[in-house]
Amino acid sequence: MTSEARITGEEPKSGTRWLWFFKLASPPHAYRLAGLLRPWFFWPAVALMLIAAYGGLLLAPPDYQQKDAFRIIYVHAPAAALSLMVYVVMAVAAAIGVIWRIKLAHAVAASCAPIGTWFTVLTLVTGSIYGKPMWGTWWEWDPRLTSELIMLFLYLGYMALRASFDDTQRADRASAILAIVGVVNVPIVKYSVVWWNSLHQGPSISKLDAPSIDSSMLWPLLIMMLAFVLYFVAVLCNRVRSEILKRERNTAWLTERLARS
């Protein structure tokens, strides 16, 4: 083993081309890196959110049919996009964790779940509030809301499965399988829900989309989506650091580093 690997306990993998990847995956490096990078995600995210909010609330003209109510889309759609994106990140991290046995990947997956759940809840609540003035009821079984509801069940199931194992390693691997099976099923679920919905009303566009989206309305939406993604990474950095602290509690590198401070 190299001297570095002796400290971290990770075996160097064959070939130096991927060394940077596996070095990144070592907990001490990841811990430091997450701490350093966080502000570079957090503050740009906040700035972009302010810009997007300004554009969405003030600059974009009111919609012909929905008037000013359509402005809800600037928070509802990014939340929906993120609820899906976080699940995919979680599943990919979990897959990397089981295939290459990288502990850090499992820490990332575990950290994603609560964040994704909150984005899903936010999507459902803003969708419901958006729906009330638009179609008169607090809930409709439209394709986006229905598939978001199913996403919520998938997230809750993932967290429940994790919680049912006492041993972290087994929890990691079992929930990884669930996440992989889940992510394969997500396109199937989305397709089936759109199909199911289209049978009862014409084209299967979610009623919650602003009908005509022209460029002055579009750019705040894209900026807000980017802002949400950066914000997610910033929050994830802290959660991953917490996970590393919890999982590496008995290792030499951590004890040494903390005893010194």
Binding site: V98, I150, F153, L154, L156, G157, A160, L161, S164, F165, R170, R173, A174, I177, L178, I180, V181, G182, V184, N185, I188, V189, Y191, S192, V193, W195, W196, L199
Partner: protein, 227 residues
């Protein structure tokens, strides 16, 4: 399949069938549950067949899903509890094949009876006889999907104490597409329309799950069983 694998499948299937015949009273419980659940709906809604007919496809399908969920208890738990499953994981034989054989046998005992019982129960809810082929076909494909998805969930939760509700939480969301296509197929048939679209989709799902599912099952089982 190589002759070795076929023999393995046959051995697993024969063993499970033999055990099932010995405990036939446990085997028919999910079926009884299915009938009881479908009885709840006329009681809850109305004795009028005209009203029941409209919701019959959905009721039969949901009852079948719930019955198959209950039946999953007997799929892996007995073998895990008496240590047989641990032996299987250490045996050097392909675990995915063995688990697929077990799931297939379990389907014969739990899924197929639902397919046979469904027309009877459907008629009680006002379904015309013309719908029976689509009803049976959609349920045959559907219960195959439910068995595989349920098997993955069962393998993940078999080591969890009182894991039956967790199993339901994990598996039901994954099964929703199957429900959508299956219930819709029967509904189309009831209106005299061709149900080929959703039936094809169900067949595609069944093919996908049967081919990939066993690997997930085996991976999950190894995690659950290792001590």
């Amino acid at each position: 399949m190589q002759p070795g694998l076929l023999k393995l499948v046959r051995l697993v299937a024969q063993r499970d069938l033999r055990l099932a015949i010995r405990h036939w009273d446990q085997v028919i419980q999910p079926l009884v549950f299915f009938v009881i659940v479908t009885t709840l709906f006329p009681l809850a809604i109305s004795p009028s067949l005209d009203e029941l007919r409209r919701i019959a496809p959905g009721v039969v399908w949901v009852a079948a899903m719930l019955a198959s969920l209950l039946a999953l208890e007997s799929l892996f738990r007995p073998d895990v509890e008496d240590g047989t499953m641990e032996q299987w994981t250490l045996s050097g034989q392909p675990l995915s094949v063995m688990l697929l054989a077990k799931t297939a046998t379990h389907w014969l005992l739990a899924g197929l009876p639902l397919v046979v019982m469904a027309p009877i129960v459907g008629t009680a809810l006002g379904m015309p006889r013309s719908v029976w082929p689509v009803l049976a076909g959609s349920l045959a494909l559907g219960t195959a999907c439910l068995s595989i998805l349920g098997g993955i969930g069962a393998a993940l939760t078999v080591g969890v104490r009182r894991g039956s509700v967790l199993l339901a939480l994990l598996v039901l969301p994954l099964e929703m597409p199957v429900l959508i296509f299956g219930a819709r197929a029967v509904d189309l048939a009831m209106h005299g329309e061709a149900a080929l679209g959703p039936l094809n989709l169900l067949a595609a799902l069944a093919l996908l799950f049967v081919s990939l599912g066993p690997f997930a099952m085996a991976a999950a089982m190894r995690i659950s069983v290792e001590s």
